[in-house]
Symmetry: C2
Subunit: 150 residues, 2 copies
DNA sequence: CCTAGTATGACTATATATTTCATTTCATTC
DNA sequence: GAATGAAATGAAATATATAGTCATACTAGG
């Protein structure tokens, strides 16, 4: 935890930014909700619990900043708002998302398995892949079983 | 072309919708710009050339309708607006997009190669994949060469 | 041709996200 | 530890994409 704070301050300093209590508070919320995909509004509400005076604009600005620093992943699950997830840097490649078109739940796949495709893209399209986003749409186990019973 | 119109009328009829000159005009524009990824606003401007009295709301409604009928793909290239592409139904699986983070150009990969991943997802996550969206971010050939020279 | 129901266009409403600007806070120097 | 300049903040205003309302017009089918 303390490590995260020191790193955060250092990373901000490298880019000429300052560590403020608001930025710290946003980071804390993201760390405390690691597996989740929170919207800006949700993050704002959570931050306000410990930091009631923070403004929504600051949360927007902080998330924008963190996205540019690659501290967070900005996600889009087609519900009209941006969602964020902390980037742990522990995996080399990011995970994929499974979006249930029935109930809207979102699960994760840890496996990546896109290396061979990316190599092929480099060879055939001469496009150097740096990153990717993969979303799978379909039915989660619960919804599949429900539909099967009908 | 005539085929497309007849199909369109039939498909609309199946769902209790009517074929109007506005809907036809939007379809025509999409057919005339097949390889492109047009935004709603761009489609509106193109439709207005032959159909100057059409309203923007109608274009929005028509694209929403076509998306629900799976006549178009709704795309998101992170520029804050929805883009559309006609769905030709000729391929079993859709193509992927290569987005250059330098110049913003978007190319396509015809290969899919996600079958084995989808099988694995079914086995391990018990999630039945119906569709997917894959975006690769990186550098196109031009931008890569430009950066190499520096 | 008439009719019922759908679609349209102009306008308004909503919701997310960004910008403005005066004030406050941070981090560095003396 | 106080002073200083730059950067960050909050409240409000603004931008922008999309959706909803409603009176009028059009479509498809008899």
């Amino acid at each position: 935890m303390q490590d995260n704070n020191i790193n955060f301050r250092e990373q901000l300093k490298e880019r000429g930014y300052k560590l403020t209590s608001q930025r710290q508070a946003v980071l804390d919320v993201l760390l405390d909700h690691e597996g989740q995909h929170l919207s800006t509004e949700e993050i704002y509400e959570l931050v306000k619990r410990k930091n009631p005076d923070i403004g929504l604009a600051t949360v927007y600005r902080t998330l924008l900043l963190m996205d540019s620093m690659e501290l967070v992943y900005k996600l889009d699950f087609d519900d009209g708002l941006s969602r964020y997830e902390i980037n742990k840097h522990t995996e080399d490649h990011r995970h994929h998302h499974l979006i249930c078109t029935q109930c809207g739940c979102v699960a994760e796949v840890e496996e990546d398995l896109l290396e061979s495709l990316e190599e092929q893209i480099l060879r055939k399209n001469k496009f150097v892949v740096k990153d990717h986003r993969v979303k799978f749409y379909g039915l989660c186990e619960k919804c599949f079983n429900k539909l099967k019973q009908l």
